[in-house]
Amino acid sequence: MSDRVDLSDQEINAYLDGELNPERRLEVQALIARDGDLARRVMTDMHLTDAMKLAQKRPVHSPETIGRARRLHKALSRRRWFPNASRGLIAASLLLTGWFANSLSVPYRQAIRTADEAFALSIRDTIQVAELDEMVRTTFEPVDEKLQRLGAAVAVDVPELPRGWYVRQVRLQRIDGRRSVIVNAVSAEGAVSLVASPMNRKTSVPPTAVTDPTTPAVFWQQGATGYTLVGKNVRQDVLESVATSLTVASRRGLVPKIRG
């Protein structure tokens, strides 16, 4: 009895060509072992395949063929290296271009950065000053306490004001980049303004008249605080006298109260 019916031509070929899985291969081998006709058929195909391999001619290639193959090899080799080299060159070019552009733009970027920072600092300072002023406006606070608090906030010593002054306004304002306390008051001699500003270094300057034909003013410094007394309709000598009295008052060294 033959098992040949179980195998198709394509399965026999798949066995010959190594396309069967190991399990089916064993089954086919078992069938071949039991079927003489099938075994001869398989052996014939194997024999013919081997003969085909042996019958292959060994060609002698012409110089033209060899030359074309070598040209192809060179071309493919160039393709292998050239893209890498070109990519490297492109990357280097981009790097140099970026470097060059960076160098060119440094001054502009630095200038912009400086301007931006200065602007931001100015805004921040203005907001802080405004916040301090806001407290003055929204909270009832005695004048002397306002003076001490704002003076402490900007690190200036504010002298005790003459008793005859009627203080109309106390505020903070940036003057020449310095946070200053400005007091607007009405004295017996007329309207006056006292400005107390932080100075760069400690020193002592006596009351000195500021030569201004339209607005009489006196400047003096005690420690790290500079004072300017301005009275538009006040005589210069009167201003100097007031300044001298304030100098004595500031020398007493008022210590701001600590609130809260």
């Binding site: 031509d9 394509q10 070929n13 798949a14 060509d17 396309e19 006709d37 099938l38 001869r40 058929r41 014939t44 195909d45 024999h47 013919l48 395949t49 003969a51 085909m52 391999k53 042996l54 019958a55 292959q56 001619k57 060994r58 060609p59 290639h61 012409s62 033209e64 063929t65 060899i66 074309r68 193959a69 070598r70 040209r71 192809l72 090899h73 071309a75 493919l76 080799s77 393709r79 292998r80």
Partner: protein, 175 residues
């Protein structure tokens, strides 16, 4: 990945020889294919084997070039056999290499081609089907017919045109 075609020249020539059935035509086909490969070098995917790419170029060059017309003319007058399904199991115990070579030359080109790819070069069915641009099932069927035809051709004694079970095919079509 190996990109030197020189070590593959023998393999390419033998495939060209199967396609053209003539040594000189195989030389011409191989040279033409190499020139085409040079022109198409940018299409080569370096992740894939060079030999397989070149084999495809050899085949396409043959199918689209002068070699195809020459081969068709030769094929029109060639005696080609196809196996009768009723043919009993062949009893080929020993054959001369020359007989086999002649039988392969007498096979239809597509039969010789699939036998060469799978039997001689050891291509998997899938690789052979890819190269031939046919489904795997078609490649397997073609291989079955090719082996049956080869068995029949080899079994037939030289000069014997009356072997039972053989039909004469001219130009690849049954007459």
């Amino acid at each position: 990945m190996d990109i030197d075609p020189v070590p593959h020249l023998d393999e390419l020539w033998r495939y060209a020889r199967v396609l053209t059935r003539d040594d000189a035509d195989a030389d011409d086909l191989l040279q033409e294919a190499l020139a085409r490969a040079l022109a198409m070098q940018h299409a080569y995917d370096r992740a894939r084997p060079l030999a397989a790419w070149l084999m495809r170029i050899v085949r396409n060059t043959h199918l689209t070039g002068l070699g195809r017309r020459n081969t068709e003319q030769k094929g029109a007058v060639a005696l080609v056999a196809a196996i009768d399904p009723a043919c009993p199991p062949c009893q080929v115990e020993h054959v001369e290499l020359r007989q086999v070579a002649e039988a392969v030359d007498a096979l239809p080109r597509e039969h010789a081609e699939i036998l060469h790819l799978v039997g001689v070069l050891g291509y998997s069915y899938q690789d052979a089907a890819d190269l031939l641009d046919v489904p795997v099932g078609t490649a397997m069927s073609r291989l079955s017919r090719a082996r049956a035809t080869l068995r029949a051709l080899v079994r037939r004694a030289p000069g014997d045109e009356r072997t039972p079970g053989l039909r004469v095919v001219i130009g690849g079509r049954n007459e």
